[in-house]
Symmetry: C2
Subunit: 319 residues, 2 copies
């Protein structure tokens, strides 16, 4: 959750001049906004500026990114729609992703690590089938429960796309990769294991072990043990699971990332830092990457983001 | 989740003639649609037709119910806004609620139980502060974390309103009451205990033990033990918590309600009934009310709802 966003006036200034998708595809501007959180609030890593729907568009489906969220005017509803999608070659369809990462690596000169990322198949399929955001996920689950074979075909095609896409990011300079399965927490454990986990595993297998791999799910409380079998090195969790409980359930082999409620950055300083300290104390000195439990919100005061980061950097674990 | 809705053509026929709020306030039509699920799909109880925002409107804030969900054009953002709200007397401000319940009791002549319901303070406050539905709950949580005293004042006023509102429902004939804290699952356990649980407890205390009391939260996985201390007799849970796990965590004193994923009603019959059977088997023969884990969805085929209900009624637990 180290991405630039509307909470930064420097980001808003650039967005006044270019649209969101245009910004994602402009090497210089995308690299510039990627570096904003490092320069302005002092985060300890840089994530390249992009959107999880960039490779979806490259598969051959129209994507519009509006202020209300993504819209896909021609959603996938049938096998015929899936057949029309391609598994795109990233170097020729999204070359700008490679250029942004290369530019960032050369500007960073290993000052902090560079993070690549992508959406996971269940989450990307939900946008492609619902045609945008959803509360009930009635369209994708309707397909899952009515004609699971069709959905598996789509999920497979997305997994192949994302595997190649993340490898391209690593070859272009990403030193860590994070897979966002944001909406998979809506599934029961058994549906997660049927429709989400196998594709996450397929991607992590394709990517290999050259860089650390992080898996994020929002609302992960019921599927944590399954996520631990995804092949990820780090599980990134939402704010609702106490981190000590996540540690007990996941065991000692995986690292954890998270999990401050991003809304705490809208509140008063004392409550914010008390909650941050509680997470740090629960997580202990090893195997933990401090982070938010979900993306930073547009009304976040910059000085609160900075205070949070300063506090985390200065925190010393009791011996 | 036994309420009439757009999945019934008989309901849609009535909604072509009257708006949603108008329907809630028309004794004869509201009673008629309340009975539709009993007559058409054979549910085992009747919930009176209404909306959780009816008492909110009576507090003195404008509410519009659109196809996209509720909209409150003048959201509460300050103590001054809270001061302007009243704790309404239900008999004089929402008399139609009493009339609907009385009419239903006389038509049902104890054939099946009549359920009353209301929204819980956290969930109602979220609509009042956000001005409608929300994904991030940034406005209400911003207030919670910046000026908790102000939010507590609002939550108290809502709790007083809902306590009186549910007593009015019981006096008018409701034989069970259900409190919907739909959005409280977004909170960490400690925030739930600070901003939601005390007001649920206050309401259940005001209502007393004359009728069974059910508490519903969507996404309850992290707060189940706290919910068990609410004073509810029954915890109604979403589809993501395996019901056997909920039973282990809650203990034997409370009944459980739920928890089929409503999207399974959009799928094939065999998967639907296999999942229903799994819930019944896990829950065991006592202390369980079969139900969905959230509201029934508009595209649900009526024959699937009927097949689900027939299956549950015919199910025999293994001795």
């Amino acid at each position: 959750m180290r991405q630039a966003g509307r909470y930064l006036k420097e980001y808003r200034a650039i967005r006044q001049k270019v649209g969101f998708l245009e910004l994602c595809k402009d090497t210089d501007l995308a690299a510039e906004v990627s570096l904003q959180p490092l320069r302005i609030v002092g985060v300890d890593a840089v994530i390249f500026f992009s959107d999880i729907l960039i490779p979806v568009e490259a598969m051959g489906i129209g994507v519009e990114l509006t202020d209300k969220g993504p819209e896909l005017p021609n959603p996938i509803r049938s096998q015929a729609g899936i057949d029309r999608l391609r598994v795109p070659d990233p170097a020729s369809t999204v070359p700008f992703v490679g250029s942004i990462l290369k530019k960032l690596r050369s500007e960073l000169v290993d000052q902090v690590p560079l993070i690549g990322f992508a959406g996971a198949p269940w989450t990307l399929a939900s946008y492609m089938i619902e045609g945008g955001g959803s509360r009930s996920f009635g369209e994708i689950k309707g397909m899952a429960f009515r004609e699971p074979g069709t959905l598996h075909n789509l999920l497979n095609k997305i997994a192949d796309t994302i595997g190649a896409y993340l490898l391209f990011q690593i070859e272009s300079g990403a030193q860590v990769i994070q897979l966002f399965d944001t909406w998979a927490g809506d599934l029961t454990r058994s549906d997660y294991e049927e429709f989400a986990l196998p594709y996450t595993q397929k991607i992590f297998e394709a990517v290999g072990t050259r860089v650390p791999r992080i898996l994020y799910v929002n609302g992960a409380a019921n599927i944590l043990e399954s996520m631990a079998r995804s092949g990820a090195d780090v599980l990134s969790i939402d704010w609702r699971i106490p981190i000590a409980e996540a540690r007990r359930r996941v065991g000692g082999k995986l690292a954890l990332q998270g999990n401050l409620d991003p809304c705490l950055l809208l509140g008063d300083r004392e409550r914010l830092l008390r909650n941050a300290e509680d997470i740090l104390r629960q997580a202990g000195p090893a195997g933990h990457i401090m982070n938010l439990g979900h993306g930073i919100l547009p009304p976040t005061p910059v000085e609160n983001a900075r205070a949070f980061i300063d506090f985390v950097k200065g925190y010393k674990h009791q011996p």
